[in-house]
């Protein structure tokens, strides 16, 4: 069963954000199914829909790796299960 999760990056725009996040996901066997980038409320925002197999890669390990990427780049990177957004924003 593939887990669907949302990666979101918030912060100041800079070179290499997409590359670093994508590399970290690829190293853990996560597939990027969609990617969008925009400026929301003055903040650079990038969101991705990633899918991965939790039996092979635990959710927590992907989350930890992305947090480290965020710390390195000075932006906030979060990984959340997709359900929370579907629940809150869709009837």
């Amino acid at each position: 069963m593939q887990t669907r999760a949302i990666v979101s990056v918030l912060g100041d725009d800079r070179v290499g954000i997409v590359a670093a996040v994508a590399t970290s996901l690829a190293e853990r066997g996560a597939n990027i199914e969609d990617i969008r980038q925009s400026i929301v409320g003055g903040l650079f925002s990038m969101t991705m829909l990633a899918t991965f197999d939790e039996d092979a890669t635990p959710f927590e390990s992907v989350q930890r790796a992305l947090t480290e990427v965020g710390e390195r780049l000075g932006v906030q990177v979060t990984l959340q299960r997709e359900d929370v957004f579907r629940y809150m924003h869709r009837i």
């Binding site: 409320g41 903040l43 359900d83 929370v84 957004f85 809150m88 009837i91």
Partner: protein, 454 residues
């Protein structure tokens, strides 16, 4: 991806800037199997049962927090009203049961455990009396145990003897913790129309109609609602205000529904209810009072406050009812004084009085909540305040409650400090013209005509 970046960022900002959280994931546990004639054995059974059944509660809730990115502020436990199992033993001292609950709560890492409770709306049973009389000592000698007593229902009317007795218990609990700003009284609530599935403290119990174990969730999010109201134009009409609150409440409730389902699934227990109460915390911006002021009241307690609160409460329910089919618990905005920085400010400014709080509780949930009053307030006066709140609940077929703290040695204007989520409260003035003769009459206030529905 059918979720837009705007929706994702909105959710993140709700958490980071507007204090969106799930206020509590509460595991309800039946203690029916723990009843035993030997008090020591019963206390051991209670400890073992709670620690075994709740062992995974905190780790499971913390994993959900991490994976979904929604903070869960409190993990708690509610249990069968303790008087119903205390009846199995003839031991005069039931404090060992409170101590067992406290140790169990500490062991599994929850901050409060509710259910040192009795239901006496129609009469005080022998075991009920033992539990009620033990409350001051039990609450003073434990950290995490919460107590509650139901003294009135719409079906039964009001047990006036129980109300007077509880006023004495509240005074005794406050006196027993005089050195700690009378904190024991902050863990004791008196109800009319108590509900069986309330996830919030201090009044959480696991009712007789519940399964053996159940997950109940209390939503939160005053900061989110305030931000939405504050973003509206100042001339937006009240329909627009209600609409904005309703839409936000839907989102908050959906987060609660998801957490409730997921917690129940991971713990292998039934999902119970989602409680739609907006619950403030002492944190800046996480205030129900601030919402009322954003709607347009100059200072909470001023004329217009009850209208604004009624609008808020109704819109939250309408949005929430769309968000979950399992609405339950208290489901009404909380207006505790000590836990809400905006309420404290209003008391200090002289805008908010006990009488106005009583009026406000007629249109929302638990009424006189976390209110510090002078420690020398007479027992009849405290009883009369409780009776007034109960009368509103009984006549209007709704839950009301009082959590009063007669702060020992303190006078009007002094500050009591409880710390943490219980916050701090300025001691409020009490009307000296209380119905002392009324309260000494005792007996039962008959069930109202509106109770005859069959």
């Amino acid at each position: 991806m059918d979720i837009t970046p705007e929706e994702i960022v909105e959710t993140l900002l709700m958490v980071e800037q507007q204090n969106l959280d799930i206020r509590t994931v509460t595991l309800g546990l039946s203690l029916a199997s723990c009843a035993d004639p030997d008090m020591e054995v019963m206390a051991r059974k209670v400890y073992e049962h709670v620690t075994q059944r709740a062992e995974r509660l905190v780790p499971a809730a913390e994993a959900i927090e991490r994976e979904y990115g929604i903070p869960i502020t409190n993990k708690r436990i509610s249990v069968t009203p303790i008087a119903s199992i205390a009846a199995a033993s003839r031991a005069s001292d039931v404090t060992p049961l409170a101590l067992a609950l406290d140790r169990a709560a500490c062991e599994v890492g929850v901050d409060f455990i509710g259910g040192f409770s009795a239901l006496v709306h129609k009469g005080i049973g022998e075991a009920d009396a033992r539990v009620i009389d033990a409350m001051p000592r039990a609450l003073a000698s434990t950290q995490r145990v919460c107590a509650s007593v139901n003294v009135a229902t719409t079906r039964a009317g009001m047990n006036m003897d129980a109300i007077l007795r509880m006023a004495g218990v509240i005074l005794a609990a406050a006196a027993a913790t005089a050195q700690r700003d009378s904190i024991a009284a902050a863990k004791l609530v008196v109800f009319a129309n108590m509900v069986e599935d309330n996830p919030f403290m201090a009044g959480a119990v696991h009712g007789a109609g519940e399964p053996d174990a159940v997950i109940n969730v209390g939503i939160s999010g005053p900061g989110v609602v305030r931000a939405v109201v504050a973003a509206l134009p100042r001339d937006a009409d009240l329909t627009a205000v209600a609409e904005a609150i309703k839409a936000t409440s839907f989102k908050i409730t959906r987060a609660g529904e998801l957490v409730a389902r997921e917690a129940a699934r991971r713990l292998g227990v039934s999902m119970g209810i989602v409680d739609l109460s907006l619950a403030p915390t002492p944190a800046k911006g996480d205030s129900v009072a601030d919402i009322l002021e954003a709607i347009g009241v100059k200072r909470v307690g001023g004329p217009g406050t009850t209208t604004a609160l009624a609008l808020l409460n109704d819109a939250v329910k309408k949005g929430g009812a769309m968000g979950t089919s399992s609405v339950g618990g208290l489901s009404g905005a909380f207006i505790p004084v000590s836990e809400d920085a905006g309420m404290i400010r209003a008391v200090r400014d002289g805008a908010l009085t006990l009488e106005k709080l009583e009026a406000m509780c007629s249109v929302c949930s638990v009424g006189l909540d976390m209110i510090a009053i002078p420690g020398d307030t007479p027992v009849e006066t405290i009883a009369a305040i409780i009776a007034d709140v109960c009368a509103i609940g009984v006549i209007n077929s709704k839950t009301t409650a009082a959590r009063l703290i007669p702060a020992s040695g303190k006078k009007v204007g002094d500050l009591v400090e409880f710390g943490g989520l219980l916050g701090r409260a300025p001691v409020m003035d009490v009307n000296p013209w209380a119905g002392s003769v009324l309260m000494r009459r005792g007996g039962r206030f008959p069930a109202p005509l509106s109770s005859l529905r069959n």
